[in-house]
């Protein structure tokens, strides 16, 4: 039940994103095993933690970006009321990006790396990514320009995507000064997740809410302006909370502290906004799971990114928690709450349409959502306890790093258990999405 044939290009993006998501989680469990047990030197020499971590984080970025891109290709035709400018370009872009991703992962195994966390992929592959991103932007922008049906949602989406691509450029050069290196590293990482990605999320969520609730576009778009205004206001200067201890001037403690204390506001606003639109819905609920995911996203986004971020960005606290497992706890909860759930919401909205199903069987997907949601929450708590222990023992009492880590073992083992449940949930979701069946279909 898609309106435009070109929306179909989204499907391979979604499928590849899902498979990479699964692989990312497997790598995550391997990392937790690295934390919990002593591995033989021979294994550490050939497949060190560093390589596995590069896998885990790059897979995260890759699957989420592919999900966003697929989501964009799915919604832009309906939003502009026209076919995509070119489906061939969309496929070419997918091949380039996935090719670069696979080459990067294989390269990591053989030590081909730029050696900067999350931005490990080497310069040559960066160029391929840039070409892929340019094709994407060109394709989306041309579709919008040719259709001439500009909406606020299109503007936000395109703005977010352009911002995303431009910021990536700051991660490419070699910086001689380590402090400046990290200063601009955060232009990619922070301004992505607390800037560009939030714009994309806001646009996609606003669009999905219009589709499923039938609330008038004008109302949704009005609140979207306020929401992204707040995201930009708090998020841009809020980058300062990464500049406390890297050799930058002291005023960042004030700027970062104040602006990041305000960062939960737009997310809270988004939560309120979602609830409001859901309450004022004018359409019947066809697939409850999509609604569950949309509301779950809003709540989890607020907890993981908003609250968890808030509790440790105050400079007085961050002095002790910076670069500890508290950061890990926040990272997991925020990425899952904000961006994994956004992608899953989009997938569950788009898959039935791409497969021509009106109402799909909700059971498995609902299980998948609750298992992953709860497992990730418990995992976040376990990382959090480990992080508080670490902050106190290592940073306050001054115990050695490994002495401290030995005290944290129990919590890493709990992380492994949570990780296994999480993986089970993810496998259920992948299976459910790929083999989606209509609810009314009778088994023979």
């Amino acid at each position: 039940m898609i309106t435009y044939q070109s929306q179909r290009v989204a499907y391979p993006y979604f499928v590849i994103a899902l498979l990479l998501f699964g692989l990312q989680v497997v790598m995550g469990i391997w990392l937790a095993i690295n934390y919990s047990f002593t591995l033989p030197q021979g294994l550490v020499d050939v497949f060190p933690f560093a390589t596995a971590r590069a896998f885990h984080t790059n897979l995260l970025v890759l699957w989420m970006l592919l999900g966003f891109m697929g989501g964009t290709y799915f919604m832009v035709p309906e939003e502009t009321r026209s076919e995509l400018f070119s489906t061939k370009l969309a496929y070419l872009q997918l091949i380039l990006l996935v090719g670069a991703g696979v080459a990067a992962l294989v390269g990591f195994l053989f030590g081909w790396t730029q050696g900067r966390p999350l931005l490990e992929i080497p310069f040559e592959l960066d160029l391929v990514v840039v070409v892929g991103a340019l094709i994407f932007l060109f394709n989306v922008a041309m579709t919008m320009i040719k259709a001439k049906n500009w909406t606020m949602i299109q503007g936000t989406l395109l703005g977010g995507l352009i911002m995303l691509a431009l910021l990536y450029l700051f991660g490419i050069p070699f910086y001689r000064n380590l402090s400046i290196d990290w200063y601009y590293w955060w232009w990619v990482i922070h301004l992505w997740v607390e800037g560009a990605w939030e714009l994309v999320t806001s646009a996609i969520m606003a669009w999905i809410l219009i589709q499923i609730t039938g609330v008038p576009r004008q109302t949704v778009e009005k609140w979207l302006y306020v929401e992204i205004g707040l995201f930009m206001f708090t998020g841009l200067a809020g980058t300062g909370h990464h500049y406390y201890w890297l050799g930058a001037p002291r005023y960042w403690l004030w700027v970062g502290g104040i602006f990041s204390a305000l960062e939960p506001l737009p997310i809270l606003f988004m939560l309120w906004d979602t609830f409001k639109h859901v309450r004022e819905r004018q359409k019947p609920i066809t697939n409850p799971l999509v609604w569950t995911l949309a509301v779950g996203l809003a709540i989890y986004h607020f907890i993981g990114a908003g609250l968890w971020g808030f509790i440790h960005t105050l400079p007085q606290i961050n002095y002790y928690t910076h670069g500890s497992q508290v950061t890990v706890s926040h990272g997991h909860m925020a990425f899952f709450g904000a961006y994994a759930l956004l992608n899953l919401t989009m997938f569950y909205y788009a898959f039935p349409r791409l497969k021509g199903i009106d109402r799909f069987k909700q059971n498995l997907g609902t299980w998948g959502f609750w298992i992953t949601g709860i497992a990730m929450f418990l995992m976040g708590l376990a990382f959090g306890v480990a992080g508080v222990l670490q902050s106190y023992l290592e940073r306050v009492l001054g115990l050695g790093y490994m002495t401290t880590h030995l005290q944290m073992q129990l919590w890493f083992k709990i992380v492994i258990v949570c990780g296994l449940f999480f993986l089970a949930g993810v496998i259920i979701i992948i299976y459910d999405l790929l083999r989606m069946r209509p609810a009314e279909a009778k088994t023979a």
């Binding site: 690295n34 002593t38 030197q41 550490v44 020499d45 060190p48 933690f49 560093a50 390589t51 971590r53 590069a54 790396t113 050696g115 900067r116 966390p117 490990e120 070699f174 000064n177 380590l178 402090s179 400046i180 200063y183 004008q218 009005k222 302006y225 306020v226 992204i228 205004g229 707040l230 930009m232 841009l236 200067a237 300062g240 500049y243 406390y244 201890w245 890297l246 050799g247 930058a248 001037p249 960042w252 403690l253 700027v255 602006f259 002095y319 002790y320 910076h322 670069g323 500890s324 950061t327 306050v396 009492l397 001054g398 115990l399 050695g400 790093y401 490994m402 002495t403 880590h405 030995l406």
Partner: protein, 235 residues
């Protein structure tokens, strides 16, 4: 609220924050030279940064608190561990961390690469991080060390043990490094003379010793030996 008001909120919010952020970025560029001693950023330091990146050190270790949380932060590794220890642990991790719960990969760095790496760490060590990380802060002494210092009124050896960096490799009562043996009952094995001789020339006492000969005055070695000889596992 009208759409017009909503739009104004968006434009004012975005622009004001962007202007503030970019202005401070320009100013940060002006100040960061002094805060990081950029004048001392020699070619060796830059080569060391490249070694650090080539071997993907940063995906296990944090530096300035950023990176992988799997291994100790390296911001102050130069003053915390010293050149000798860095050289040994990078060139022979399989030996240095043989008894460690967590291992470090053997990356086959050339001696020149290690020199560059050390130059890099030496430069990073002096970056003004507003006294971060707290455990390396010279301004605030961790309570563990404070307890030891209190003991120093009774024993100067305890204070010297802490100050000479012995804790980097050795543990007492579960506090300290795991590279060398824990010393809680060293007094049962060696007497004051034995310990002092070991400290002054580890290789003579034990040809396989990894321990570097610390540069200590005779009287300090004597004080530490007296302190350690009293460690007879009575904890």
């Amino acid at each position: 609220m009208t759409t017009r008001t909503a739009k104004i909120i968006f434009y004012v919010g975005t622009l004001s924050s962007a202007i503030l952020f970019l202005t401070l970025t320009v100013d940060t560029h002006r100040q960061i030279e002094a805060l990081t001693n950029a004048d001392q950023l020699s070619d060796d330091v830059v080569a060391g940064k490249k070694v650090f990146e080539k071997h993907n050190c940063n995906d296990c270790h944090t530096i300035l608190g950023f990176g992988g949380y799997y291994s100790p932060d390296l911001t102050r590794v130069y003053s915390r561990r010293g050149e000798d220890y860095i050289r040994k642990s990078v060139s022979q991790p399989e030996v240095v961390y043989a008894n460690s719960f967590r291992k470090m990969p053997q990356q086959h760095l050339s001696p020149q690469e290690i020199d560059h790496l050390i130059a890099f760490f030496q430069w990073v060590d002096k970056i003004d991080t507003h006294d971060w990380p707290p455990q390396d802060s010279k301004r605030r002494i961790p309570s563990g060390a404070r307890r030891l210092m209190e003991g120093a009124t009774l024993s100067s050896g305890a204070a010297l043990f802490k100050e000479s960096g012995c804790f980097d490799c050795h543990a007492l009562a579960g506090v300290g490094g795991t590279t060398g043996p824990a010393l809680d009952s060293v007094g049962l094995k060696l007497d004051v003379d034995g310990i002092r001789n070991y400290i002054q020339n580890p290789m003579a006492a034990n040809p396989e010793a990894l321990m570097p000969a610390p540069d200590l005055p005779e009287s300090d070695a004597e004080a530490i030996a007296q302190f350690l000889a009293r460690q007879r596992g009575e904890r």
